[in-house]
Each structure stands twice: as structure tokens, then as C-alpha cells.
């Protein structure tokens, strides 16, 4: 089964062949490395950019303007913050020109904690990204969703921010990407670059089928009746595990993988919250002016009188960084037990 890094690669291969992607670029994205997470190994349109994030975003905008289809990578989202003006510009160009210049471009970047990345390889970007109008924003948590959402992103005619939870990069899915070999390790032999000299290596791409996961559609990962849990990225599998664990205690949680942050699948959230009357939002970005707070506001706006308990947010602590030492990271971003506790206490509340 493909992991997320491989799923990115398969999707980009498909997109180069069938969806007109012309440029996959960024720092160390091209040969020999193929990306610091190997996401871009062996692809035919990759190239290494100068070490200049503003240049990367500007280049992507220019390519999109001239009819190319760029997929630009920011090596870690921690290094995207000197480009927010350009991201805003990419998001407002269609609007500012009154419908003349749309920018079909994808920016992908690894986000979040979980790999002991210390202060500058642990940032989340969902709060900042969702505050920028004009972008579609997705964040898969499984390889198949990665594949399907990245194809959707490469078909979009608007800017798409593709956030990859780096803690899940090497986690294998339990669903096959259509076309990938069934046998374990076979995929790796075909498409993972060898260690050492790679100058003569060429990948053997399997023949892939198109899977489009529409941007804007959430996925119910577990159905339940008592409390809705909404998450995405690194914390999503933790929520699913928490729900399983709590089932033994008699707590019946429904878990939704939001997958698309903008636009998000309000219909799905609403239906679930109306059913359960309780909701916990979980993400790991710092908790002040956090996207989960927006979702809570939406819930309050539309469902206040149907709530059986106050909606709850579990998010990252409002501190300036995620420290390297394990106890620091553990105290900074949601852990399994934090999520379980929040679900348990929310489920237990009665009006």
C-alpha cells in the first residue's frame, strides 16, 4: 500500500501525464533528491529552485498566468510566512481583475508536528491559510485521499493550498490507489529512488486510474450517535483511535475527516451535529484565532438551540514554538489522551 509521500508522487505523475501539470518545483524538489520527503522523486517535470520562497510563489503565479500548470512546493510550511502577501495576491487576482485573471496553481507544503521538528519544522498553517480569501485549502490524512485530492487540486482553476501532515507521510493506507500493485513493497521497488547514485535510475510507473475526491467534501470515518468529532491531518487518526477506545466505555462518537478546509463541508458537519447535539473540533494549530474557532462560530450561529453541550476545541497551546524535547512537544499539541478527555467530557454533558 502506498504511503502519503508515494501517493503524492503517484498523483503528480498522473497529473503530469493527464492533467497538464507543467512544472513541479521548489527547493530540492528535482533530482537527485526529489524532495526532502521523497514526494517528487522520478517525476518528469520537477526542478530545483533557488532558495527563495517568494520567488517560488511568484514563479508559480507567473506560470499560471501564462497558461502553465504549476505545482510549487514550500519545503516546510514553517518557511511560507514571508510569502503571505503573495498568497493573498494569488487569492485576490481573479477578484481584483473583475474576473479576468484566474490562477490555476497548486502550492503544496508539509505541515504540523510529530517528527520532532522543533521550532521550525512543526508549524501548522491551517489557521493562516483559511484566513486568506480566494484559495481552496485541503489537507488529507490518508494516501488515497491524498491521491484523489491532489488530482482534484491539479484540475482546479483556482489556487489550491495542499497541506500534507508530515507526521503521516510514511503511514500506509488501508485502501489501494487504483493501479498500484497489491503486493507489499512492490510499489516501493517501482517508484522509490535507490539510495546512492540515482543518475541512471528511472521509475517504473504503474498505470493509474483517475480518482477525483471533490474539494469541499468531508468523509465520515466512524459513525456515532453521541458526539461529533471533526478533525483533519495528524490529529484525525488520533480522533479515530480515541473514538474506538471510548466505544469500550460506552461513548459513541462520530468522527469526520474534514479533508477540505475551504470550502468545507458544512452540510456534513451540520447533519452530524444535529444528530449528536455535541461537537469537538480538533486540530493542532495554536488555539488563538484558530480555524476550529471559526467552525465553532458557525456551529453556534446555526445550531445553538440544538446543542446538548457546548462545542469544544482541542488545539495547540498558544506558545511561540514547539520545543524539541519530547515533553515540550507533548505539552504543546493535542495528544491522544487530550482528545479522549475532550470527547469523554463533551459526551457526558447534558443540558
Amino acid at each position: 500500500m502506498a504511503n502519503i509521500a508515494q501517493a503524492v508522487r503517484l498523483a503528480l505523475h498522473y497529473a503530469e501525464e493527464h492533467l497538464g501539470v507543467t512544472d513541479i518545483f521548489g527547493e530540492d524538489v528535482g533530482p537527485p533528491l526529489g524532495g526532502v520527503f521523497t514526494c517528487t522523486q522520478g517525476l518528469k517535470t520537477t526542478w530545483n529552485s533557488p532558495l527563495d520562497e517568494r520567488g517560488i510563489i511568484g514563479m508559480a503565479m507567473g506560470i499560471a498566468m501564462a497558461g502553465g500548470r504549476p505545482v510549487a512546493e514550500i519545503q516546510f510550511c514553517d518557511y511560507v510566512y514571508n510569502t503571505i502577501d503573495l498568497l493573498k495576491l494569488a487569492g485576490n487576482t481573479y477578484w481584483s481583475s473583475n474576473g479576468q485573471w484566474n490562477l490555476p496553481m497548486v502550492v503544496m507544503t508539509p505541515v504540523g508536528s510529530g517528527i520532532r521538528g522543533s521550532i521550525y519544522h512543526s508549524h501548522s498553517f491551517d489557521a493562516t491559510a483559511t484566513h486568506i480569501p480566494g484559495w481552496k485549502i485541503v489537507m488529507p490524512s490518508t494516501p488515497l485521499d491524498t491521491y484523489g485530492l491532489l488530482l482534484a487540486a491539479c484540475r482546479e482553476t483556482n489556487p489550491v493550498m495542499f497541506l500534507i501532515p508530515k507526521a503521516l507521510m510514511r503511514v500506509k493506507g488501508d485502501e489501494l490507489i487504483p493501479g498500484e500493485p497489491v503486493e507489499d513493497k512492490a510499489l516501493s521497488k517501482l517508484i522509490d529512488a535507490p539510495l546512492g547514485d540515482r543518475s541512471k535510475w528511472v521509475p517504473q510507473w504503474p498505470t493509474l486510474d483517475e480518482v477525483i475526491i471533490p474539494i469541499g467534501k468531508a468523509k465520515t470515518v466512524r459513525t456515532g450517535s453521541q458526539v461529533t468529532v471533526v478533525s483533519y491531518g495528524r490529529t484525525l487518526p488520533m480522533c479515530a483511535k480515541a473514538a474506538e477506545a471510548l466505544a469500550a466505555e460506552g461513548v459513541d462518537a462520530e468522527v469526520i475527516d474534514l479533508r477540505s478546509l475551504w470550502p468545507y463541508d458544512w452540510d456534513a458537519l451540520k447533519a452530524s451535529i444535529e444528530k449528536t447535539g455535541r461537537v469537538v473540533f480538533v486540530n493542532e494549530d495554536t488555539e488563538v484565532t484558530n480555524f476550529g474557532e471559526h467552525l465553532m462560530r458557525r456551529t453556534t450561529d446555526e445550531l445553538f438551540y440544538k446543542l446538548l453541550a457546548p462545542p469544544k476545541l482541542v488545539a495547540g497551546k498558544f506558545v511561540p514554538g514547539i520545543g524539541l524535547a519530547d515533553p515540550l512537544e507533548a505539552a504543546s499539541v493535542p495528544q491522544q489522551h487530550d482528545i479522549e478527555a475532550a470527547i469523554r467530557s463533551t459526551a457526558a454533558m447534558a443540558p
Binding site: 517568494r54 498566468m65 481573479y94 485573471w101
Partner: protein
């Protein structure tokens, strides 16, 4: 006609030296107009340059008048840059897609648009921010053009970001083949932003050099701040040298010199498919913008006055003709402004339009 102009140099001996660029003057001294005893261009082109310069000036004067009489909230534009901007516009390969030139402009280029054949009504409508403004539908400031048919990407207020985007369009053009190039322009003060360096780096990657004509119009001001106070760089064109980029400083107040220099630069970029950096010394004739009063200044060279003197001197134009031309355009634009004043503003609900391409405009939230 516009396209023809690109070939209108007098058949010159190859080593006939065009008007020499003057060294950039120190702060506060207006750049000198280059003088030569013989005009190296044919009369029709000279008259076309003059006509367009006057047309552009009259348009800007009308926009300023609109501002001053309350028909528009903010004015910014290009009086003082007409000589350079008209020459530039005449040399552009106009059209849509990578076979044609991509234009990453700043907010002082009405003259370039007029030289390309643009209807002046657009600028007037944008000034008045009416719904019919063809560039932004009443959303953006004066001078913030955008015209996809002509590869004119939206002029945006943030200084210098266009320099980060320009290599992107040029990359697609390089791959596409043909002679389409990318042109990016901005002011001198803005070169202090890192994006200027970004443009130099990304345009000159070894083996991946890009067809970008990188232009800086140097008026020696950033709003109220004199260039000499904040930047040690004497010639902005020197910034290109370390990158191996062909670079030149020219007199942007002289339409003839500008035309010849730009022609050379265009030819280099079109054929070599490599970047070229042109710094053009120009004047700023009505201050920075309406925020600084938008009044004519008397201590900077006026490219039109000087050009007219020269044309008169050489018998190409009479004062009466020049006056008549000005009169004609002034009247024409006053009439257009009267029409725009009656036009409708965009409706508030249109804010939802064009948030996302391919989707109907709508408020995502129930109210």
C-alpha cells in the same frame, strides 16, 4: 500601425551611435535630455511618439481634474514618464498567450497602454470607479490596469511583487518558443524590496535564462524620500552585473533615445531569450499621487516640452500644431469624463462575484 512602428528606425549604419544615456543625475537635478544634431527617426514615428505623449499627458490631466472635482477618490499615474512609456508601448508585441508579450506593469503606465492602442475611456471609468471600469469593475484605484486580452496582468498596489511573478510568465514563453517576452516595470525606491533581487536571480539561472525585459523607471523618489538618502546604489542597472545580466541606464525623458535603446533591448531579449535590465531616468511631474496634491512641479524636466522644442527646431512640428493637439485631446477627455460621471457604480452584492473562477458568486454564509 502599432506593430509597424517596431520596424520604423531609419535604416542606420550599424555603428551609428544612438542617443547616449546620460549618467543618472544626483538627487534633485532633473536628468538632461540627450541632444543630437540629427534626429535618427523618421518623421511619422516622431509625430506618433509626440501624439501619444500628448494624449497620455492630457488623459492624466483629466484624471487629476476628476479627482480635484470629487469624481474619484485617489489619483496616481504617469505624467513625466510619457517619453519612455510611449516608446515602450510601441515596441510591445500585443496579444494573448505566450506567443505575445506579458506585461507586469506598475501604476504609472497609462502612456504605454495608449501607445498600444487602448481606449482612454477605461482609465476614466476606473478613475470614477464605475461598474463599467474594464480593468477592475470599480474595485481598484486609478492606474491599476488589467487586460487579459493583451497579457497585461493586474497592476497591484504592493510595490515590487510584479518582479517576483515576471520570471514565471517568461519561463512559459521560453518553453513555448517564438519571440514573446515578459516585461516588468517598477520604480527606483521599490528596488530595495527583496523581490527585485528575486527577479534578477530567477531570470538568470544558468542555462535557464529567461526572456525578461526588467525595467526600472528611476524618478529618484519614493513618495517623499529622495533616493540618495536611502540607497547607495548609484545606477540601478549595476545591480544586474553580478548576475551576468546585460544592463543599461538610459535617459527616459528622451523619446528618441528611449525608443532606440528599448528597441535594442527588445531585440536582444526576443532573440537571445535572456534577461536585460534597463534603468530609465524619468521625471515625476505631478508629485507622487493625489495624496501629495497632484500639482505640476517646475523643477523637473518635462519630456513633452523638451521634445516639442526639439521637433520645432527640426521643423517636424509647429507650436500651433502642438497646441491644437493638446486642445483636441483635452476636449475629447473632458467629454469622456462627462459620460463616465453619469455611469453606475457597481452594486454591493457584486462583491461575491469572481471570488472563485468557475463558480457563481455567492455569500458562503446564511445571514
Amino acid at each position: 500601425m502599432v506593430r509597424d512602428a517596431r520596424k520604423m528606425t531609419r535604416a542606420a549604419k550599424p555603428d551609428e551611435s544612438p542617443a547616449k544615456p546620460s549618467r543618472p543625475e544626483q538627487q534633485r537635478f532633473p536628468p538632461m535630455i540627450s541632444q543630437s544634431n540629427e534626429l535618427p527617426l523618421e518623421a511619422p514615428l516622431l509625430l506618433q511618439l509626440h501624439d501619444l505623449m500628448v494624449k497620455a499627458r492630457c488623459l492624466e490631466e483629466r484624471l487629476i481634474a476628476m479627482y480635484k472635482s470629487g469624481h474619484g477618490y485617489f489619483w496616481i499615474g504617469g505624467p513625466g514618464e510619457e517619453a519612455f512609456n510611449v516608446a515602450l508601448g510601441l515596441l510591445i508585441k500585443k496579444g494573448q498567450g505566450p506567443a505575445f508579450d506579458y506585461l507586469h506593469f506598475h501604476y504609472r503606465q497609462s502612456a504605454t497602454l495608449l501607445a498600444m492602442g487602448e481606449d482612454p475611456m477605461g482609465a476614466i471609468r476606473q478613475m470614477k470607479n464605475v461598474a463599467a471600469d474594464p480593468y477592475s469593475g470599480g474595485r481598484n484605484f486609478a492606474g491599476h490596469f488589467a487586460k487579459k486580452e493583451w497579457n497585461l496582468v493586474p497592476v497591484s498596489s504592493p510595490i515590487e511583487v510584479q518582479y517576483a511573478m515576471a520570471p514565471g510568465t517568461a519561463l512559459v514563453q521560453k518553453r513555448h518558443g517564438g519571440d514573446g517576452i515578459t516585461i516588468v516595470t517598477g520604480g527606483d525606491a521599490g528596488t530595495a524590496e527583496g523581490d527585485f533581487a528575486t527577479c534578477l536571480t530567477w531570470s538568470s539561472r544558468p542555462g535557464q535564462e529567461l526572456p525578461v525585459l526588467i525595467i526600472v523607471t528611476n524618478n529618484r523618489w519614493g513618495i517623499s524620500t529622495p533616493a540618495g538618502q536611502v540607497q547607495a546604489v548609484e545606477k540601478v542597472s549595476d545591480r544586474g552585473v553580478a548576475f551576468g545580466i546585460k544592463s543599461k541606464t538610459i535617459d527616459g525623458n528622451d523619446p528618441i533615445g528611449a525608443w532606440l535603446e528599448l528597441k535594442e533591448a527588445f531585440e536582444y531579449v526576443r532573440t537571445e531569450r535572456k534577461p536585460y535590465l534597463v534603468e530609465a531616468n524619468v521625471s515625476r511631474l505631478f508629485g507622487h499621487s493625489s495624496a501629495s496634491g497632484a500639482n505640476y512641479v517646475t523643477n523637473e524636466a518635462d519630456c513633452i516640452t523638451r521634445f516639442e522644442e526639439r521637433l520645432e527646431q527640426h521643423g517636424v512640428l509647429t507650436r500651433a500644431q502642438a497646441n491644437a493637439l493638446r486642445e483636441k485631446y483635452a476636449t475629447e477627455f473632458a467629454d469622456l469624463a462627462r459620460i463616465a460621471k453619469e455611469e453606475a457604480f457597481p452594486d454591493g452584492q457584486t462583491i461575491w462575484d469572481h471570488v472563485f473562477h468557475g463558480e457563481p458568486g455567492r455569500d458562503p454564509f446564511p445571514r
